[in-house]
Symmetry: C2
Subunit: 142 residues, 2 copies
DNA sequence: GGTTTAAAAGACAATTTGGTCCTTATTAAA
DNA sequence: TTTAATAAGGACCAAATTGTCTTTTAAACC
């Protein structure tokens, strides 16, 4: 469904969202808590920083923090930054363009599922996910 | 969402389902109509044949035909044969096992979308897709 | 039986994705 | 001002996916 980079990116963002506002978290810690490969996660965080959902700081006391309140960042922004728009708008059978005026055989059934996914991603904020972690009802690892 | 192999496989199956019962279609024709790479499509059809949704015949008058009525084959069987079960049961954040008793942060939202996709795939038969093609309301290419 | 046709099988190549490592740039603190 | 810490960037490697090509196997037809 999502790329590995995207999975790592989402987990990292949720963990960062758990910190108190403005607090920075280092790459090493992020990779450890999310059980993600450190160097590869670094690349992904760079992408997220370039896309403006994350800010990064070098040097001692450096690290990463959210660019805005966790309630203002949703999963769709993260997925779009890392995996692109394909999953939001692409054809289920790989036609160059999903077009309701020249639909592929699965278009209507697929588009409705795909739009459901899109709605879910757009309507899920980092805040609620981090809150679940705080409450201990959900987990970042197994 | 689906692999290229799976996209080609689904398109091929729909086209085969369009033929009259028992009628065989050759690889070349399938690849042409679906605009898929011939040799790669061949591999995919082999997988589908091994998985029993397709039967193949060698020699002159050879080709492929469905192993049973097109109303008895659904998209889930095809996707499962080619891409495996990951998409039906896998965790949205890549945890080894999606487990409601130790859910990841996106579990409940993701699982509902994923189950919607699964339901769609299980409840969509090749027959209805081929019927759409026959009716000229949908298309295999752009 | 020999010839032709078409799928199966397997080797191989190209591309994309996933992942590591090393150097550089930047910043805080001693 | 030097040193240490940390992210950025780029080169590189590994694995999976996508794709091609050649040989083998099976079947029809003469
Ligand atoms: S055209 Fe294929 S999903 Fe819309
Ligand atoms: S545990 Fe992640 S989706 Fe179920």
């Amino acid at each position: 469904m999502f790329s590995k980079a995207c999975e790592y990116g989402i987990k990292a963002m949720i963990y960062i969202a758990q910190q108190e506002v403005g607090q920075r978290v280092g790459l090493k810690q992020i990779a450890q808590v999310t059980e993600s490969p450190e160097a590869f996660t670094a690349k992904t965080l760079q992408i997220l920083a370039r896309n403006g959902v994350l800010v990064s700081f070098k040097g001692p006391t450096g690290g990463f923090s959210l660019s805005k309140d966790s309630s203002k960042i949703n999963l769709a922004q993260i997925v779009k930054a890392i995996d692109g728009e394909e999953i939001f708008t692409g054809c289920g059978l790989g036609l160059e363009k999903c077009d309701a005026s020249r639909p592929c055989p699965v278009h209507f059934k697929f588009a409705s599922v795909r739009d459901g996914l899109s709605l879910m991603l757009h309507s899920t904020s980092l805040k609620e996910l981090a809150d679940g972690l705080d409450a201990g009802t959900v987990f970042l690892t197994q």
